[in-house]
């Protein structure tokens, strides 16, 4: 019982940590492409960790299956969204940041 | 019994079903649309007329939706006053539908006609549902349909001004809907019920005075916008003058009145007259609507646009109705309800006359109407007959309602209000007689109006004449209606 709670807690903490990282990156990085980089990846990873933590916490039940489905959807949709945003930004010709250029606000 | 007991829902459901079917009916040929509308409204009107045999002035007809008894389910509750207004709505919208059959081809493209009639039927059905219902949340739901369809109908021409006017209407109307919802929430939070009859019983012994007070203030603001109560009327002139004429007739003749009717219901059915929360609010309502009478009348005199003038006159007359409600005795209430009826007819007739002029010539400015009577005598005569009712000259219906309103004011001790009614009538006389003077007595411009009679088609003239004649006829036979109305009003007040 205790071990399960501890594992779940650790996973959730890891997930939250990645969320914080992703958000910091979103705020601090200079252009669209580099901002996409932390936001999609960290959110996917953080979300998955939190959900897996919850799966561990809930034990083996119907809820676990639902959480598993959410993980699957998160993996697909988050990656696709990142791709779509990046691609459309590229197609639109939004400039890519290089060293020395001002940060766009 | 049998089918008779289901009439209340049929009255509302028939126009609604027809509205849903309207795109399909108009898919092959738009010509079928107006005929279907007329059939639906005719059947609603007939059923409403038949209900007069069932509803006694002191009683009411209750129809339980889904067979649940009232506080748990929704109740349709038709008493004599609401039946009277239901009949007004049915009759006027039927006439407007007949009018628009020919007219609307002039103002709208062919592919918009099915949606026009769909919205028209939804507007009518929602007004019927709004008036008939005995459940306060249900009232809100129907008010939303009413509001949405009237925004769309104002904007339906699709040009810049129309969309602008509709947007103004929307900006005023949406917050007012929210306010009504908020007020309903407040009432629900202190009573735990939504049925009006149940509410009034629960309010009587409720300890939450502050909440009740706030809810009635918010109700008055919310429905005040819908009824174009004086400081909240800003949307009305634009919306009513820019909409297509049949819609102006509906908005000015019915929709605004239905807002006033809602205030009546809130004050008399939900908060009963004996309720201490009401004491201050009705005085404030009286002062505001008295200001509205004068303001609307004065601005109507200064207008250059014909339809704009009629719209301002509506503000003035809404002031009459609400002033009569705020006096809170049976005479004034009878006058108010009868004024809803005769003002609805007269105002619809005004706008339809304006529509007939627009149909024939496209003129909207008052100056352009100089000498119109030479070419369109029938329309002009109909207009002047309705104008007599708006001014309140005996024996028209307008006189009867004003008579009762003034009587009620004097009986209640509000002598100032009686004076304001008289001043309002003088103002009405000024703005109506000005138009009549222009139409009949000024020589026409040769290139604008021919001297030969060239009238609008019969489908336009028949509704116009029916409306203007009935303002006269119902004035003459008012002794048949008024006693029952007064009984119903007394019943509503004493309860």
């Amino acid at each position: 019982m205790m071990a399960r709670d501890i594992i779940a807690g650790i996973l959730c903490a890891v997930g939250t940590f990645f969320f914080i990282l992703g958000t910091t990156g979103l705020l601090r990085l200079p252009d669209v492409f580099s901002r996409l980089h932390p936001s999609t990846k960290c959110d996917t990873l953080g979300g998955c960790s939190v959900l897996i933590g919850l799966m561990v916490h809930s034990g083996f039940s119907f809820d676990t299956l639902k959480l598993l489905l959410i993980v699957a959807f998160l993996l697909v949709s988050s990656a696709t969204c990142g791709h779509a945003i990046g691609r459309s930004a590229f197609v639109k010709g939004i400039p890519i940041w290089k060293k020395g250029l001002e940060r766009e606000e | 019994m049998g089918a008779y007991s289901h009439f209340p829902i049929f009255i509302i459901a028939i126009p609604m079903v027809m509205a849903v079917l309207m795109p399909a009916i108009g898919y092959k040929n738009e010509k079928y649309c107006p005929k279907a509308v007329v059939v639906a409204l005719l059947s609603s009107t007939t059923l409403t007329g038949l209900l007069f045999f069932r509803v006694k002035p002191e009683g009411y007809l209750s129809y339980h939706m889904s067979s649940w008894e009232p506080p748990f389910g929704i109740e349709i509750r038709i008493d004599f006053l609401s039946l009277f207004i239901l009949a007004t709505i049915c009759a006027i919208s039927l006439l407007v539908a007949i009018f628009s059959q020919k007219y609307i081809l002039k103002e709208l493209e062919a592919n918009k006609i099915p949606s026009f009639y769909c919205l028209f039927l939804l507007l009518t059905a929602s007004m019927l549902g709004f008036v008939a219902t005995g459940d306060i949340f249900n009232m809100f739901v129907f008010m939303e349909i009413l509001a949405l369809s009237s925004y769309a109908l104002v904007a339906i021409a699709g040009n810049r001004e129309a969309v602008r006017a509709a947007f103004k209407y929307l900006l005023m109307g949406a917050p007012s809907s929210i306010m009504v919802l908020l007020a309903i929430t407040l009432l629900y939070s202190v009573t735990g019920t939504l049925n009006m009859a149940d509410l009034s019983a629960k309010i009587a012994d409720s300890g939450y005075r502050e909440v009740l007070f706030a809810s009635i203030v918010i109700f008055l603001i919310g429905f005040g916008v819908k009824a174009a109560l004086f400081p909240l009327h800003m949307w009305l002139p634009d919306a009513h003058s820019i909409a297509p004429s049949p819609i102006s007739a509906m908005l000015s003749g019915l929709v605004v009145e239905v807002g006033a009717y809602a205030i009546l219901r809130i004050l008399f059915s939900v908060f009963t007259t004996s309720s201490p929360t009401l004491s201050g609010t009705s005085e404030v309502l009286g002062i505001i609507s008295a200001a509205g009478v004068l303001f609307g009348g004065i601005l109507a005199i200064t207008q250059k646009d014909f339809k704009m003038m009629i719209a301002y006159s509506t503000i003035s007359h809404i002031g009459y109705i609400l002033l009569g409600i705020s006096v809170m005795n049976d005479k004034a209430l009878t006058g108010s309800v009868f004024h809803i009826f005769d003002h609805g007819m007269a105002k619809a007739c005004f706008f339809l006359c304006a529509g007939a002029f627009i149909y024939k010539k496209g003129y909207r400015r008052i100056e352009d109407l100089k000498g119109a009577a030479r070419q369109m005598p029938w329309t002009s005569f109909a207009f002047s007959l309705a104008a007599l009712s708006v001014i309140g000259i005996p024996p028209t219906a307008g006189f009867i309602s004003k008579w009762y309103l003034i009587w009620g004011c004097i009986a209640g001790g509000y002598y100032l209000y009686a004076v304001i009614f008289l001043v309002g009538s003088v103002l009405a006389a000024v703005y109506c007689l000005r138009i009549i003077y222009y139409i009949f007595f000024l020589a026409p411009d040769e290139e604008k109006w021919s001297r030969k009679v060239d009238e609008a088609p019969l489908r336009i003239l028949i509704p116009v004449w029916t409306l203007s004649l009935s303002t006269f006829v119902f004035g003459v036979i008012s002794f048949l209606i008024i006693p029952s109305l007064q009984q119903a009003a007394t019943f509503l007040i004493i309860r």
């Binding site: - | 459901a13 939804l122 769309a152 407040l186 939450y208 502050e210």
Partner: protein, 248 residues
């Protein structure tokens, strides 16, 4: 001046509401008025009287079904308003449409949508059909169907969607919600009750629960399909554009 008055009005309203809130019955307490009148009956008897495990669905569709009919009409009126003002989409060379998807050519997105859209649809059907047992129901499911069709349209373009769901099909389906209410209402009247009665008095007692379930289901499906079609028709009408494509 105008700004001053509107601020004054809003401030007055805010003060009034704050004053009211301090005097309102407390939230969630035992003896508040909202817990005394209609709510106890709903909570205790809904399952038995309406045949739906989810009390919300019982209240929405059965006790206050007429209100829901009104809500459905509001949605339908919204569609009618949009169609009246901007018109339906039309096919033809002269009609362009606003293309939202410059990324439409991306294979990854297409594959992902092809994978996801059916699952979303499946979920929405589950939501509609399971409304009487679990949270959800016609409105929610309809909104989700609408959302999945919107995703499909943004990726594959307007013509692809309109050829899947042509106008002729949408005409009856847009009104499906209201029509299902009316048909259930008519069945209620024929069955000896009032409008929208689900438990028909004319039937034998043993048949009543089954008929009630089927009628509830009919209304749920009607609301779902009608809502979805209204959303998708509004989307198509919005995307339609006479003349060239206007971007920002």
């Amino acid at each position: 001046m105008k700004k001053f008055f509107s601020l004054l009005f809003i401030a007055a309203l805010a003060i009034l509401l704050l004053y009211v809130v301090s005097n309102m019955p407390g939230m969630g307490e035992e003896d508040v008025p909202t817990r005394q009148n209609v709510i106890p009956r709903y909570l205790e008897n809904a399952e038995e009287e309406t045949g739906t495990e989810n009390v919300i669905t019982g209240v929405i569709l059965n006790y206050r079904g007429y209100d829901t009919m009104g809500e459905v009409t509001v949605i339908f009126t919204g569609l009618a308003a949009v169609i009246a003002i901007i018109g339906r989409e039309r096919r033809g060379k002269n009609y362009a449409y606003t293309d939202l998807s410059e990324i439409a050519s991306s294979v990854i997105v297409r594959i992902a949508i092809i994978f996801l859209a059916p699952l979303i649809l499946l979920f929405s059907f589950y939501t509609i059909l399971h409304g009487d047992v679990s949270p959800g129901g016609g409105f929610q499911g309809g909104a989700i169907i609408g959302a999945s069709l919107i995703i499909f349209t943004t990726i594959f373009g307007l013509w692809e969607s309109t050829s899947r769901i042509p106008q002729k099909l949408r005409f009856p389906l847009e009104g499906a919600a209201l029509l299902s209410f009316f048909s259930v209402g008519a069945i209620g009247i024929i069955g000896g009750g009032n409008f929208l009665t689900y438990t028909l008095p004319r039937l034998t007692t043993s048949l009543q629960p089954a008929v009630r379930t089927w009628l509830t289901l009919l209304v749920e499906i009607g609301i779902g399909v009608g809502g979805a079609m209204v959303f998708i028709s509004i989307l198509f009408a919005l995307l339609r554009e006479e003349g060239g494509v206007v971007g920002y």
